[in-house]
Subunit: 182 residues, 2 copies
Amino acid sequence: MAQKNRLKFIILGLLTQQGQTGYDLAKSFDSDIGEFWQANHSQIYPLLKKMEKEGLITHEILTVGQKMEKKLYLITKAGETLFDQWLKEPSLPDNSHDEFILKLYFINDAHSSLLPVMLREQAKIHHAKLGHLEQQLKRKFPDQTAIDRQYGHFLVLRHALNRENQYANWLDGLLDGDDNMV
Amino acid sequence: MAQKNRLKFIILGLLTQQGQTGYDLAKSFDSDIGEFWQANHSQIYPLLKKMEKEGLITHEILTVGQKMEKKLYLITKAGETLFDQWLKEPSLPDNSHDEFILKLYFINDAHSSLLPVMLREQAKIHHAKLGHLEQQLKRKFPDQTAIDRQYGHFLVLRHALNRENQYANWLDGLLDGDDNMV
DNA sequence: GCCTCCATGTAATCCGTTACATGATTAA
DNA sequence: TTAATCATGTAACGGATTACATGGAGGC
């Protein structure tokens, strides 16, 4: 998307918590942060090098087994400063790129035979996502201690859950023919 | 984002309604569809040429005034077929790239002094957007006739409004310290 | 005559995805 | 010993943004 290099800040954020390898960073997009942001190792490794040149991070070499070397990346003072600045900046919401909504826009006829099919399919997807998020919330935040430790993560998960809940309800309402559903 | 060329389908969709110039197409991203998708003329003009090569669209030259020529693009049968296929395909939701949510994720401490500032700022943005969407809905869909003419557009607008409403309420709830707000 | 809008293009750059490529470690 | 996982990289390509660039039409 020619974005505003948000991955840079995600990496900084993850490194404030602890030093990590590129591999570790890539893995966090399979869980946790992966619930709402994506990145591949092929994007991460070059960016780590670039960020090191910029003085935002450094690395130490760790030797594992006989010869395998891995790079443990650490955030620098400059990196921490930049990250804190970013947190403080206002953030404008993207227009979400929801392909289903895009398609819906082009369905002019309220009685199109496509509509119920599309709605049902989409409802299925969002109900599944809702179930997944409920499970995540239970798994990651079983008690108050967990919430206190990662309050932001907790809020983000609950926000996603609210969003999916509302989305699914809206679709269900449309499928029930409840036209004035809000 | 190295997306799946959704702009192509937007252009096809817009051209099913009526023949348009590149300029006209670019303008629709300032209103209507611009509420939830963006594109610039610098992306549109080259894509129109590419799509014409692919046989999805054609163009006619219109002369305006003494010498100015403009290209009126028209969708072909092949274009219509492709567009209909796209509508019928399942669409998986993107993970929305909401930068505020990203920042929130990194706020571990529930009592961070950053939190209320961020929440207030964000609430302001979403309340403004909510107001804007309410106005749009009233302006574009003042009566049932308008709704019947562009039912999909109507649904999309109402969906956006619901989403913003829920988002704003969630933020307000957090600001009120109502921790278990859903 | 001047300003705004109409109208169309290209170039540079960046971001992101998919594919290509290699090799070590560890546990079954 | 062999499969899964750890670990690190590059290349090709496509999509999106910003900037550069040009010129006509129409209203005041």
